[in-house]
């Protein structure tokens, strides 16, 4: 049921994984989307109905496993069940003729043999109180494994629930040379679990000293593919005397007290200075540009709220620029061999003063007027490193001072992870045991002219007949008369 319930989550875009996809879906299906949203199809895995199924599963697991554990405990302490009256009805059955002498000792001999093979045995007397049959059982581990598996699944569910509640993750973009402090104000975005409180954040600071990328230059078919990303960081944990330096790479997070620091993205951050006509600086700094392609054609937004007239820039950055036949620009290679910056300029209200938090990577141009680039009649600006160009009208000048790189870092903490792993591995071990260990009962019983053997398996056991054959051969090496059952 959980399987079916999980399907829509892969069909519809999910807010948690793909927020842009959800927005796009709303734009594309304005009628349908709100209905789907009402039944939480964009938040399947946190939806009320998904949780309900999850809790139901949890309860039914407990309801099923606890009684079975009790039964199994009893079975573990009690002797194998009595020998049934008629053995010939069992799935595997042999009748063997034997002399009176063999008959005398066969029950003890088989009991000893079975015991050596790991069976639990019980000898049962006949009418005259001499031993008349053995009943043996082995493979209790099968049920133990099964119970361990189901109990561990409960463990996984609990660990996922509590771990998720205590977890948090925060994202921060750092340009080379910048640093941040591990508190709520230090993050660009933050998603806490239900039980999170701010004092869970261990106070430390991290600075990005340098960011390096290796692109493939050697292999013709592979030119420009990134081979390695390295973020060189220095971290200072409050209370420790010396700062620590480390390199973070994809697949190699940095472990800090109470959290891990991951490298999740990177790109270029052109350094710009904007001056008004009098030469006063109205904007200065390295702005992260988001990569739009594998060749790092990047898009950035610069907002200048403190000029006489508010204005904003939408800029493209090409690390190694080239012109297509259509006249459009593109980037040929992801490393900055021939970097170029192009800009479109918009004047008007930036919408920052309203107080509502605004995405720093987007410029809402709906109430702004384009004054350079596009259809404005004025050409867009183009700058190489070191160049200064004039902005249209009375906006002043912009200088492309230099180029830095940025890294997106993710600070995550989930105390449940380790327990989920432990329980999953236990579950795996349990299910493997329960699938591969055979559980079977074997009986040896005196008959009029010899003795009988029979076996019964719990579940699938292809070797049942062979087990009896081997047993018979050991008990009475000669003459085996087979009377197998269909």
């Amino acid at each position: 049921m959980l399987a079916v319930a999980a399907v829509p989550g892969s069909v519809f875009p999910q807010r948690s994984a793909d927020p842009n996809g959800v927005t796009a879906y709303f734009d594309g299906n304005p009628q349908l989307a709100p209905i789907l949203d009402a039944v939480q199809l964009f938040d399947v895995y946190t939806s009320a109905w998904f949780s309900a199924i999850y809790i139901l599963l949890f309860i039914s697991l407990i309801g099923c496993v606890l009684p079975r554990t009790a039964v199994h405990f009893k079975a573990l302490r009690s002797a194998p069940v009595d020998t049934p009256r008629s053995l010939s009805r069992m799935p595997a059955h042999l009748e063997i003729k034997a002399s009176a002498k063999t008959r005398e000792s066969v029950i003890e001999a088989s009991a000893a043999l079975l015991k050596r093979q790991g069976y639990r045995i019980q000898i049962q007397p006949g009418l005259d109180d001499t031993p008349a049959s053995v009943s043996a059982e082995r493979g209790y581990l099968r049920e133990t494994g099964n119970l361990v598996f189901h109990l561990s699944l409960i463990g996984v569910l609990i660990a996922v629930g509590f771990g998720g509640g205590l977890s948090y993750s925060g994202q921060r973009v750092l340009v080379e040379g910048e640093s941040f402090v591990n508190n709520l104000a230090g993050f660009d975005s933050f998603s806490p679990g239900t039980f999170f409180t701010e004092d869970k954040l261990v106070p430390f600071s991290v600075s990005l000293d340098k960011f390096e990328v290796d692109f493939d230059l050697q292999n013709q078919s592979n030119i420009g593919t990134p081979l390695d990303f390295r973020a060189f960081v220095t971290s200072q944990v409050v209370g420790e005397t010396a700062p620590r330096t480390a390199v973070i790479r994809v697949n190699e997070p940095l472990e800090l007290p109470g959290s891990k620091l991951y490298l999740t993205g990177n790109g270029y951050a052109p350094q710009l200075t904007i001056r008004d006509p009098e030469g006063n600086i109205t904007y200065q700094g390295a702005t992260p540009f988001l990569p739009q392609s594998a060749k790092y054609t990047s898009l950035g937004v610069i907002k200048v709220p403190d000029a006489k007239q508010q204005f904003g820039l939408i800029a493209f950055f090409y690390p190694t620029v080239a012109e297509l036949e259509t006249g459009a620009l593109t980037s040929l290679y992801p490393a900055p061999y021939d970097p170029l910056l192009t800009m479109n300029v918009y004047v008007g209200d930036l919408g920052i003063d309203g107080g509502a938090p605004k995405n720093v990577y987007a410029l809402d141009t709906s109430s702004m007027k384009q004054v350079a680039g596009g259809k404005s009649g004025v050409k867009g600006l183009k700058l190489q490193v070191g160049q200064t160009v004039k902005l249209p009208g009375e906006l002043g000048t912009v200088t492309f001072d230099g180029l830095k790189r940025f890294a997106s870092l993710d600070v995550s903490y989930n105390p449940g992870g380790l327990w989920v792993l432990v329980f999953s591995l236990l579950a795996l071990a349990g299910v493997t045991t329960s699938l591969l260990v055979p559980r079977r009962r074997v009986w040896v019983k005196l008959a009029d002219e010899g003795f009988e053997l029979a076996a019964l398996a719990r579940g699938d056991d292809p070797t049942l007949e062979k087990v009896l054959g081997d047993l018979a051969r050991e008990l009475k090496p000669k003459s085996i008369k087979k009377e197998s059952k269909a």
Binding site: A3, S16, N219, D410, V420
Partner: protein, 304 residues
């Protein structure tokens, strides 16, 4: 400065090997198919001449497997890493594992009955890989540079191969027990029925299918756990309901249901065989549709 050495020429040679293997698989497939049609003959002489064809088919299959294996190894050498980092490589390695397991199992158990299926299916996989999934050798993107690539994907390949054979047996079982096959008066179906009569009995097939599927299930569980451990490092969370995670979980649940069906009697037989088939269809779906058409982090086809 990291650097790697790729050898696209060698990758081209590897591709030739794969294509050659496809030719031999075709020959093996045809021998098995003719063998079956001869077996179905009503004439005794024709039937007794058939076993030669079958032996030829097995020999051809073994030859195909050797050429196929060489292609896989060369692919690995040309990329200087394990040959299973994208869909093309997953397909060629996976189908090689299928034929290897089949040939090994053949030495122990009589499962000739699905030889036609194995040869035909491998042909189909390699054909798809060569025409749709082909990509030249590429370096590993940083997210894939981890020893978990070796563990996680290798186990996924193995699990898929076991499920594949389990599903083949389940399909044979379904045909064998189908009412319409038993009752039909059509000549073609009657021929088909005679072929099926030559297969081992239903119980045996059901149990064999079960055996392959439980091993597949254990390996699949491990794939899922290993994937989660890796995801914790590469994607900074162990589970995030990414599309591939969702479908891997769905498949896991289907096979868990299959196991329960077999444990609690009454649901075994046809219904559990259908579950095994549904499970395998979901695996194919996960590998093809989810990889190519769904959005997610887990997109390593290398196709644009």
């Amino acid at each position: 400065m990291t650097s790697i050495a790729l050898n696209p020429e060698l990758a081209g040679i590897s591709r030739l090997f794969i294509q050659a293997a496809m030719l031999v698989y075709t020959a093996a497939f045809l021998s098995f198919a003719f063998h079956l049609s001869k077996l179905a003959s009503t004439k005794k002489a024709v039937r007794s001449s058939a076993s030669k064809l079958e032996r030829a088919g097995i020999v051809l299959l073994a030859i195909a497997a050797v050429i196929h294996g060489a292609g896989v190894v060369l692919r690995g050498i040309s990329a200087s890493r394990v040959p299973w980092a994208n869909m093309y490589e997953f397909s060629i390695t996976g189908s090689f594992v299928v034929v290897s397991i089949f040939l090994l199992a053949l030495a122990i158990k009589d499962i000739r009955l699905i030889a036609t299926f194995v040869a035909g299916f491998n042909l189909l996989i390699l054909g798809t890989a060569d025409t749709v999934f082909w990509v030249n050798v590429k370096s590993l993107m940083p997210a894939l540079q981890s020893y978990w690539l070796v563990i996680h994907v290798l186990v996924a390949v193995l699990a898929t191969a076991f499920f594949n054979i389990g599903a083949a047996l389940a399909i044979a079982y379904i045909f064998k027990t189908a009412k319409w096959v038993e009752k039909s008066k059509l000549k073609m179906v009657a021929t088909f029925r005679r072929i099926l009569a030559l297969f081992p009995n239903e119980d045996k097939m059901e149990r064999l299918s079960y055996r392959f599927n439980i091993i597949g299930f254990i390996l699949w569980s491990f794939t899922l756990i290993a994937g989660a451990i890796w995801a914790e490092r590469a994607w900074h969370r162990y589970w995030g309901w990414d599309t591939k995670e969702v479908w891997t979980f769905i498949i896991w649940t289907i096979y868990a249901g299959y196991l329960h069906a077999n444990a609690t009697r009454g649901w075994s037989g046809k219904r559990s065989a259908w579950l095994a088939i549904v499970g395998f269809v979901a695996i194919l779906f996960n590998f093809t549709v989810v990889n190519l058409f769904f959005k997610g982090l887990h997109v390593y086809s290398g196709l644009k």
